[in-house]
């Protein structure tokens, strides 16, 4: 029997442990209704703005809410509540209130749904003060970050790649030993390695790990770091994990401009953790997602391109090691 997806237990454990926790959804899950009652699994119309505002109102009055928004793309319909209400209430009230509220939804990956559905806007979301932006890169990381989110006293958005839910999810590279809770703002060492460091986030973690396997076949031993959360961004942790005097490749599906990776790269350079000449970024193109797979492919980094970037950008450095 194949193991059950670790997300299920993460959600159920929280609902069981916290009887005052509710879930908002447009699609009600029968098993959860059966277990926890329709009162706690609140079925909503297509009204994301009110959904998020209501979740805030519940959170302010002492209940935790998990907003299952289906897709992060629909969070834009609730953006005032996110930017102006959810993430400001505690501060504006002078600390009188906490906002234990979690939004989860599909980001993008392998679905080909087009520009209005395919969003993984962790860069954009990380610009909202006070918001934790979790970007799991593996099934265990998803469960681990969601577990932490569901006990966190402040608002959290979890961007869940559909790739973590395909029928073959269990075949994905899994850097986390277990689905146990993972801290926010702490990058993880996803793979040890001695020749170059690759840093990924979300979908690019698996891509980097697969690229590392391919590179190993060519005698290159790549270290892989998983950022896990875009905000807080673990700048110092990454700086401590990159291999000194070795190349660093930052890999991101989001466009480069003003991204978490440009921020990180600057930090690595300014702290001396990486050499400006030996740091490179491989990022998505700043283009709305087209539906045709033929068009989407060239816009995102993939395993081939990562291997290529690692081998070519850093050829002299790698040669230095493998004469």
């Amino acid at each position: 029997m194949s193991r059950p997806h670790p997300i299920g237990a993460a959600v159920r454990d929280a609902l069981t442990a916290q009887p005052t926790m509710s879930m908002f959804c447009t699609y009600q899950q029968d098993d959860l209704v059966a277990r926890y009652g329709g009162d706690r699994m609140v079925r909503m119309p297509i009204a994301e703005n009110a959904m998020l505002g209501m979740a805030l109102g519940m959170a302010l009055t002492g209940r935790r809410v998990l907003v299952s928004i289906a897709r992060i793309a629909f969070l834009y319909s609730a953006f005032d509540q996110l930017v102006n209400q959810v993430t400001t209430w505690r501060y504006m009230s002078g600390g009188q209130f906490s906002v234990p509220l979690v939004v989860r939804g599909f980001s993008r990956g392998g679905e080909h749904l087009g520009a209005q559905h395919e969003h993984a806007p962790y860069g954009l979301l990380s610009r909202i003060p006070g918001l934790v932006v979790a970007v799991p890169g593996s099934p265990n990381s998803l469960a681990g970050l969601l577990r932490t989110a569901l006990t966190h006293p402040d608002p959290v958005v979890v961007l869940e790649s559909p790739l973590l839910f395909t029928p073959d999810w269990a075949e994905l590279p899994e850097p986390e030993p277990s689905p146990a809770a993972l801290p926010f703002g702490v990058a993880g060492l996803a793979r040890a390695g001695a020749d170059l460091t690759m840093v990924g986030i979300g979908n690019t973690v698996a891509a980097c790990l697969r690229a590392a396997d391919r590179l190993a076949g060519q005698g290159v031993d790549a270290r892989v770091v998983d950022l896990r959360t875009a905000a807080p961004l673990d700048r110092d942790g990454v700086a401590a994990m990159v291999l000194p005097d070795r190349p660093v490749l930052l890999v991101d599906e989001e466009p480069r401009s003003g991204s978490v990776m440009t921020d990180l790269a600057l930090h690595l350079v300014q702290t001396g953790a990486a050499d400006p000449g030996r740091i490179d970024l491989l990022t998505g193109a700043p283009v709305p997602a087209p539906v045709s797979p033929t068009l989407l492919a060239p816009l995102l980094p993939d395993v081939d391109r990562i291997v290529d970037a690692a081998l070519h950008s850093f050829a002299p450095d790698l040669r230095r090691k493998n004469p």
Binding site: T26, Y27, Q28, R43, M44, P45, I46, A47, N49, A50, A73, F74, S77, E111, H112, L113, G114, A115, Q116, H117, P255, R256, S257, L281, L282, T283, A285, P286, V287, P288, P290, V291, S292, P293, T294, L295, L296, A297, P298, L299
Partner: protein, 319 residues
């Protein structure tokens, strides 16, 4: 409207959509498809009443609207399958069809987002002063969205020549609509004091008659109107990937509605023999599908073009 041509138009949509579902089952449709099967009488009846220079705005369930708006099937199917020669160059896929040449302004996959966009087109039409209306389609669930309400209220205050066609199929994905709203679409628009008409959405003649009247009122300065068409999805909400979703609607409800299929309703009124017509449309659809399945994808070099008119250099540094 000639009933025989309406039947043909509905049959073309039906077979097109069944073809798309077959292709989806073979993994040939990237993304999701939202079949229009069962609702054909709405698109065909309404759009037979539209003038060709009147804009149509749709949503993710747009294949039927596009075909009924006169958009040629081949570029549509190429688009839906992500092949070369798609009406939107492979960028829209199934859910966002647009065809300027046939005055299909576009379609959105964000529920209700098409409504204000259509109202803006209607504002243009009003300023143009040429007596044109704009037609926008939406589902019944869409009327719960704040943007739908805002649009209806502004359209009323501004007396915009906008016909909102609400396809009331009773469901919003796997949720029965009455579970999440205390008013039906008709009760809602009546409550908001909007001119409206309720119609059997599976009767293409009834739809056409209602739309003709509603559009005439729009064009004559009567302001926004709502046409609520009661109808039902023959298949299901949507399919993402090769397998159709599990059935979610009560069997009795399905049987009741499927017995009133819009094609049957129309065919029952037609005395002529439809055998040859059916064979012809089927053969045409099959040939179309073969042609498109054999086509390649669009040129990858076009992927990062067309984000802005002014040149994609402006969009910021790529890698």
């Amino acid at each position: 409207m000639d009933l025989l041509s309406a039947y043909r138009a509905m049959l073309e949509i039906r077979l097109f959509e069944e073809g798309v579902l077959r292709l989806a089952g073979q993994g040939l449709v990237p993304g999701a498809t939202h079949p229009y099967t069962g609702q054909e009488a709405v698109a065909v009846g309404v759009l037979a009443a539209r003038r060709p220079d009147e804009w149509v705005v749709s949503f993710y369930r747009c294949h039927g609207h596009a075909l009924a708006a006169g958009s040629p099937p081949e570029p549509l199917l190429r688009e839906i399958l992500g092949r070369d020669g798609g009406v939107c160059g492979g960028k829209s896929g199934s859910m966002h069809l647009a065809d300027r040449a046939n005055h299909l302004l576009g379609s959105t996959s964000i529920v209700a987002a098409q409504l204000p966009i259509a109202a803006g087109a209607a504002m243009s039409a009003k300023l143009d002063g040429a007596g044109r209306a704009v037609i926008v389609f939406c589902g019944d669930g869409a009327l719960s969205a704040g943007g739908a309400y805002e649009t209806l209220m502004i359209a009323a205050a501004q007396r915009l020549p906008l016909l909102v066609v609400c396809e009331d199929n009773g469901w919003q994905d796997r949720t029965a609509s009455p579970l999440v709203r205390h008013l039906t679409p008709t009760e809602l628009v009546r409550g908001l004091r909007l001119p409206h008409v309720e119609v059997d959405g599976n009767d293409v003649e009834a739809v056409h008659e209602a739309a003709t009247g509603a559009l005439a009122a729009c064009r004559d300065g009567g302001g926004v109107g709502v046409l609520v068409a009661h109808t039902y999805l023959r298949h299901f909400h949507s399919q993402l990937g090769p397998r159709p979703p599990a059935e979610y609607r009560p069997a009795a409800e399905r049987e009741r509605w499927l017995a009133r299929d819009p094609l049957t309703v129309a065919a029952d009124r037609i005395t002529a023999d439809l055998t040859a017509l059916r064979a012809e449309v089927a053969a045409g659809t099959d040939a179309l599908i073969r042609r498109v399945v054999d086509a390649g994808g669009p040129a990858p070099a076009t992927a990062a073009t067309g984000i802005t008119v002014t040149g994609d250099a402006l969009i910021g540094a790529a890698r």
